[in-house]
Symmetry: D3
Subunit: 245 residues, 6 copies
């Protein structure tokens, strides 16, 4: 099966890291296709950038020329999953939700350890809408931005480990989710130092997507994710004339 | 004071109707400026179109060349308000939330009467995130799309009135919010036939925005709506070269 | 339009301060009428006094001899708003709810900074019943009573500012509501020292009441606030013989 | 032990019925003292009357000249219990809460069957604040007012039985609470016809109050119910000069 | 009346202490019968032991050869109450729920002070399912196991008192529930040192059970607690051949 | 990898069906081992039987003589998962939770279609404790018992299909979970007739368990699921002398 793994920012090196993490856990026979959006921010840290990423991810998926079996939206706490579910019949998996669902099988309460404070509300809101907030002990920030993870991985790991210890001690977390797709590369080194299970969203999402495909399950079209109605779009997609989609 | 009232779709006649409704309730001295996005769908009915509208509204506001005191996002149940709040210091008012807040002053439970079934989940989610769901009795659809409101207002009014009666009788609603910016033109005729208060979101949002400006209140920058960090954008905004914003 | 602004305690100087704050933000053409109840406590700090205030406010409004367009109940966290809504067709605005509704347009989470610890449960309960608790980060007390605000404003301001800083730092509040009508006079000096928006309930309530009147909206009579049934009262109102009201 | 059972309305015959119901279940050695407020409505059906009843009940208890061990507020869904708890060290039991607590020991979900539609919001709000709403299946009205219960008991019983059957069938209620102190007299006849446990709030409250007294438990003074601060009251209580209480 | 009070563990001395506590508060004429299960753990501290206790308690009650009027399950936060309710028509009272219900009549928020950290999730879950969590301020552990209470009561009391003070100061608890049946013997000494009401679950459960019996109320058979269907059991109860029950 | 799939009842033919369903979806290299408990009810339909099943499943797993990588508890809405998690380091997956988690990736709201009315509360409670209730639209019963599924599959399918249509139409469900392990055999025929995704819990649990093993994730021992403390057990396990485990 083929799974598209779509980065939400335009930094190709991060797409590469996400793709490697996905491929590392994929089952034999799964073809992981990492995608980078054509437009948007080099890192997504806040609502403006996240709304833009939502659109860019949808356009990247729409433009993909070959068939595929599932899509993973590889941004933590970002907007847009619902839109992809309207556009597609195949399963769409958000890494925020895959991580939380996975964590819930491992312990009674989980926390998310993320990058900047400004990511916290976005993640909280996604978990609330996804119905996955009841067992969330906390969402806490390390204070290090998305691109800092690549620039100084050693410092990032120290900050993440300290935050993991904090959520276990203060918030009674029993499992930690790494709250940024860019942390995928660091997971192994964090796990080695933290005494509770650590879930990477990209890896979790790959197994969820594979599972849904193997079970023959597809996105329900009976309600929230019915296909868009045919209608006129003005100046969209960028660079094309007006069209009915 | 000047208030931008931004339509979420690209249908100019609807922008006109929204602008007229806003101007009709504006205080003396308030300058209502209706805006239509440069790109997007002719009507917003679902997540894909709503995410796109979120971006289009933000770009429309960013491109506006003169100062303004507040912004109204005139789409019911649409994404994007949080992004505008990051970009701006002036108050940003979503009509979904303005209508619900207003309704809560008038009765113990309110319902939203909207267009299509597919709008219901979007509105429910917005109300949940806005902390305005506890007193929402129901969100119900008339089954008539956004553009149907203009095409056949008489039929739309019949459907809206029937739905209003339904939410009062079945859901114990005491107040009804008209759940589409495009219903603004119809409000007077609906009010005349329904025995409970009927709130139009555009009108409500104008008074909220004016109130916030008069009170000297601005969007908090202390948490969720801190300004975006400076960073590189690729291929955005459309038609411009890459830039740091 | 004429708006009654009813103090909940019997301290005339506080009625004066509330009236001045209301008049300062009222639109041209709005006539603010401050009222003091005929009976009750010199300050309302707890349930016994609050229940009594509820009744006293209702009797003060019933006894007002001229027409009016809206009523503001100027007590923070006090009982009684629902009773007024039964008695009246015009809008009734509680400052607790006006402040919270206003705060929600400015940030994702708000806190209330109030007087004594004993006020905290009352405010929490009002916000819960009003459906405005979901985004409330905390209700915290300065430890200074209602009448202390007049007696030593400088000390009150220090205590309020310290408490505001506390809720921003510890509770992630992005907006602060001043949780006592008696704080209206102090607002300007608090705002100058706190880095987040500060909402005064009296001022907020004036703009809400004006907005509802301008929009032609009145209290719904379809459910919770239907007019009282005609019936016999014994020894009430005080000083009058039994009567059917 | 002596337990005051305070009617919330001024109809003496209803006080009598409540007192008989209480005495019928009281343990040997318990002295039931029924009280009628000195002022207020002949029946309490709505917020205005309920706020007034809250004050009248408190004054009736304050004026009682002898010692007592507990107080029962015998109004369903009425305001005021918190005020009594401030004024007293002995236990205060609201029949709404006693009925719900009792019902929860008997089945997984309970409903309340009450008088008029207008009582429903009051009862719902009391249960919410009391933390007893999670297992409440519904609060439904028979459409018969408080005084109708005395005037035509046979018709009242038919309406109550029909409503009980309705909540069992439609709302999956497993237990029913009779939602009006005035239904106490009718309980035996309702029980005989309904296939689920039926709880009368007055009877339940007597056993709760006796239990608390026997266990030596008193109202906590550590938070919400700390005694009122000494202060000046104007024109209160009625007929007395101003005093510091 | 006869009330069975069933210990959840197999330590006879603890059954004795529980029985004494129950008898001390029982009304004249109440016959308290303490029971110890035939199988299970010497102390119940965790899910495995709690599930086993649930079964052992049910078998102990089923094997009791004489009639009885109510059953008390004297384990804090343990599984199994629902099963007993299926098997019996008489009232079944769990001490976790009796304590919480009682506490709610005494203050606005209560905390539970229990033994080990591992008991906290069990108690939280029981309170959630019982619909008694809304006013629970916290469940906190002293760090001392069930059997430590008997081994070193003086140290246990110190730890409990310290934890009580902590929940009052940090969690705003106004009432404390002693979260272990084995704490029954210590209650008097704790009460003497803590400034808020302290509720022992065993004592509370006795008064609840007596109350339900006196009111003639029995477990509802209309839903969750309908009697088990007749069916074949394999190798159960232990030591007996297969049978249809 | 080896996964134990444990039936909760003692009907071997049902264990067989569950095992076949599990094997049908298992990945190459996964060894599915179906287990039947040594004691308990022929079908589990209620709390008494479910508590017993919890213990029987735990003993069956403890008695399994060889290593294994994960355990699936194949009972819908049954007790006991938490106990297994204490006893084991490997992942434990309850089919109730696996089905709900899977459903949440496919639609905004899911319903559970189960056997008898008496199963509904058990399933609701499991979903609540698992933090998976927020998006549950309803749990509804077909009225056909567990063993009826084997006895008359055609009638069972008709009843299930009708119930599926009902939850889509009335409860706005977008996905349906088959709420009984015994429905595994019927899934294919139900799917063919229902227009929304249909999730079988056994199949879902296999993919969840495989995913957790592949990701190297194990049950957290940091909180709720810490290993039981060593202690003395009386008369347990059945047929063995007392022992310290």
């Amino acid at each position: 099966m083929r799974i598209l793994v779509v980065n939400v920012n335009t930094t190709e090196s991060m797409t590469g890291a996400i793709g490697r993490q996905a491929a590392a856990v994929a089952a034999p026979g799964t073809d992981i296709v990492p995608l980078t959006p054509d437009f948007g921010a080099e890192s997504v840290e806040g609502n403006y950038e996240s709304h833009l990423a939502a659109v860019a991810v949808m356009e990247a998926v729409r433009a993909f020329p070959e068939p595929f079996d599932a899509v993973i939206q590889a941004g933590y706490g970002e907007h847009g999953r619902e839109g992809l579910q309207e556009l597609l019949d195949v399963p769409v998996v958000d890494i925020t939700e895959a991580a939380a669902s996975t964590a819930q099988f491992l312990g009674r309460r989980y926390s998310v350890v993320t990058t900047l404070e400004r990511a916290v509300p976005l993640i909280e809101d996604r978990l609330t809408l996804a119905g996955l907030a009841a067992r969330c002990a906390s969402v806490r920030a390390t204070g290090r931005g998305v691109l800092d993870l690549e620039r100084d991985p050693a410092a990032a790991i120290e900050a993440i480990v300290a935050c993991c210890e904090d959520v276990v001690a203060r918030d009674r977390a029993e499992v930690v989710c790494l709250g940024c797709a860019g942390m995928a590369d660091l997971q192994a080194r964090v796990v080695a130092r933290v005494g509770v299970p650590v879930v990477d969203g990209v890896a979790a999402a790959v197994t969820v997507a594979e599972s849904l495909v193997r079970l023959g399950l597809r996105t329900s079209k009976a309600g929230a994710f019915a296909p868009p109605r045919p209608k006129h779009f003005k100046n969209w997609p960028p660079g094309r004339p007006a069209s009915s989609s």
